[in-house]
Every structure is written in structure tokens, then in C-alpha cells.
Symmetry: C2
Subunit: 213 residues, 2 copies
């Protein structure tokens, strides 16, 4: 039995939901309310001492950090593959995924936005500008690579979705909150649309979760 | 022939140097001056359209993003292993590494510090406080896990270094720049010291690089 501790609007939970759906795995969702701070309170805090979402339980195994969870699912349920079989292809999709995971998402999550508000005293407009700045830098980097590299296909790498698409889609979805203009990134938009035609991606959307508000 | 585009003080370059050393691989260093902005200029920008360090060239393969590089090295040079052979162990060391890679480093790198200064107008003291805040959150999370989980040994996982230690050490090293007090994190400090007794870690230190200033 797989159990996912999740919040509908959490971008990292969103990644894992897509991965589980692509693997065809059934799982139980346990909602943890991020805005109410439940991730920092018991009983969740004992399960995940870092107090962040998501967390996957699979029998005795308990895995935190979305990318570690996706690698764990790849090990325990290899098909269909979310990574590539060749070392160079795997490196490429990992590096694309990490643009989202290390250079975009960490700068616009709830904890960071809270710190910008207090103690830094930034108003809503300045906080939104901060988010848009890092979204634009990241999408520009993704667009340059996706247009310049021959391996790009219908999806980020060839004709089936990989971990790169799993990270791209939640980033596109969350970027809309800050009014990010995706006009300059046509390849990012095209791939996002291709993903959204797949049931695994559509079903993982925030609005389709049991805890959606 | 392996070539690493690197900067002595870049924490992500530091990770890859440790991994290359642990694998016993020889490599050529090509310094790219981060503070002068060479990573955003030609000729480097053509090699890595994202304009960030590090970048690994291995024959025809070109890999960006430090964690993708480490996974690539693990695939192409499996021994000694930097991940674990069992799925649960691999998930654990990946999740520890990602605390540094996704929750600590992205918030205190040069690009972010520049934005805090301009346009946000934060002075040096406020920028240092920002860095210390995220270092303290991250180290506290690492300390809770490392003290609470039975798999912790001489290193983050058992008695040989893994990708978790590869990410921990550069984070400890860079945290000193902002006056982070490591007193509350005795396990983090103990593991850092155990790592520094290994030649692979000592040789990878910023001060020991050809481009050190």
C-alpha cells in the first residue's frame, strides 16, 4: 500500500502525483494543510522531521523529497521508465528537471514568500516580482535548451514523458499565480500542452485533488 | 578525458570535485570566474546555455547540474558507489542530499544575493541574516534526521561517504561565510570532520583549487 502525504497546491507533491499516475500505481492521499502549517505539527512532524511535503510511505519505507521519491519509484516500479536507459539521456533529463527543482521552485515556495513578507517587509507586488524574476530566468534557460538540443521531441526528451516533464508541468502551473508571461517560451508551452493531453498529468492537477479548495 | 568547468568557491562545483576524487578519476579543470560573470559570457555560454556552473565534459557527453553530473558519474564509473545498492538506502541518501541542494544552496547563491542587494536594496547585514536563516533551517533538518535515524554512521549513511556527504560538506564550508553558528548541529559537525579526514574531500576544498584567490 502506497500512501502519499500531499497538499493540492504543493508543486513538489504535484510532481509525485504525476509520477505515481504515469507508473499506473494506486495510492492513498493523506492531505496535510500547508497554509495552516500542519506540516510542522504532529502527527506529521514525527513522520517527516524536516516538516515539508511530500512524503511517501511504501510498506516500511518512508521517503521524503520529491526527486528522491521519484527515483525510489523508478527503482521499485521500473516500468514505464521516467528516466532514460542511456547515461547521456538520463543525465539530460535529470539536468532539465533540476533547473525546476533547484533554480525555480526553491525561490517561490511558501516559506520563502513568508520570509520576504516578514521580516523583509516586501509588499505583494514586490513578492510577485521576485517570483516572476526567477520563473523567467528558469523558463528562459529551459527554452534555450529545449530549442537548441536535438533530443527534444513531443516531450522534453523524445516521445514519452520523463522526470523532466514531471518537473516542468507543476512549474508552469504554479507560475500562473504570479502572472508570469509564458509568451517568450513557446517550446515550454508546447510541451506543457502535450503533457496535459495525458490522463496521468490531467488527473494530477491541483484542482482535481480531494483536498482542493 | 574528463573536463570540469568550475569555480573554486562554487558550492556546486565543490560537490562534483569531491565525487570525481572519490571515484579516483583524473580530470582537467577549466576555471570560469563566477564573480566576473564569465559563466554568462562566451565561450562558456555556448557550452552551457543556462550559464551556470559546473559543467562536465566527458568525450561527446556534456552534463550540467551538479546532481545530474554525480548520477552520470555513478552510471559511467560505478565504483566506489556514491549511492546505495538498496532502494531504501538510495532514497535516504538522495533525500538528505536534496535538503542541501533544494532547500539550502538555492537561497544563498550569488544570483540570489545580487537580487537581494539590487533591486531589493538589502544591506550586507540583512543579506547575511537571510543566508543564516536558511542555513539554520537546513542544518536543523539535517541534524534531526541524522540523530534520529539508525542508518547514520561515521558518515551520513553508514561507514562510507555517499552523495549525502558530498552535498553536506560544501554547505558547511560555505555557511561559514555568513557566520553561521554550527554549535546546535553536533552530528553535522562530526560528519563534516570525518569527511575532511579523507583525501578526496580535502583535495576538493576551495582553497586547494588552481583558481583559488
Amino acid at each position: 500500500m502506497i500512501r502519499l502525504y500531499t497538499y493540492f497546491r504543493s508543486g513538489t507533491s504535484h510532481r509525485v502525483r504525476i509520477a505515481l499516475n504515469l507508473k499506473g500505481l494506486t495510492y492513498e492521499q493523506v492531505p496535510v494543510h500547508l497554509v495552516k502549517g500542519e506540516q510542522q505539527q504532529e502527527p506529521y512532524r514525527t513522520l517527516n522531521p524536516q516538516g515539508l511535503l511530500p512524503l511517501l510511505e511504501d510498506g516500511a519505507a518512508r521517503v521524503s523529497q520529491s526527486l528522491a521519491i521519484i527515483d525510489y519509484l523508478e527503482r521499485t516500479h521500473p516500468e514505464p521508465r521516467l528516466l532514460l536507459e542511456d547515461a547521456a539521456g538520463e543525465a539530460r533529463v535529470r539536468s532539465l528537471a533540476l533547473i525546476c527543482a533547484c533554480e525555480m521552485h526553491p525561490l517561490n515556495n511558501l516559506r520563502v514568500l513568508k520570509y520576504l513578507k516578514n521580516p523583509l517587509g516586501l509588499d505583494q507586488a514586490a513578492r510577485d516580482a521576485w517570483c516572476r524574476h526567477w520563473m523567467e530566468e528558469g523558463f528562459a534557460a529551459l527554452e534555450r535548451r529545449l530549442t537548441g538540443e536535438l533530443e527534444t521531441g513531443r516531450f522534453c526528451h523524445g516521445d514519452r514523458p520523463t522526470v523532466a516533464d514531471i518537473c516542468l508541468v507543476p512549474q508552469v502551473v504554479s507560475s500562473a499565480r504570479w502572472g508570469t508571461d509564458l509568451g517568450p517560451y513557446p517550446t515550454v508551452r508546447r510541451i506543457h500542452e502535450a503533457c496535459m493531453e495525458l490522463e496521468a498529468f490531467a488527473r494530477a492537477m491541483p484542482a482535481n485533488q480531494p483536498d482542493a479548495e
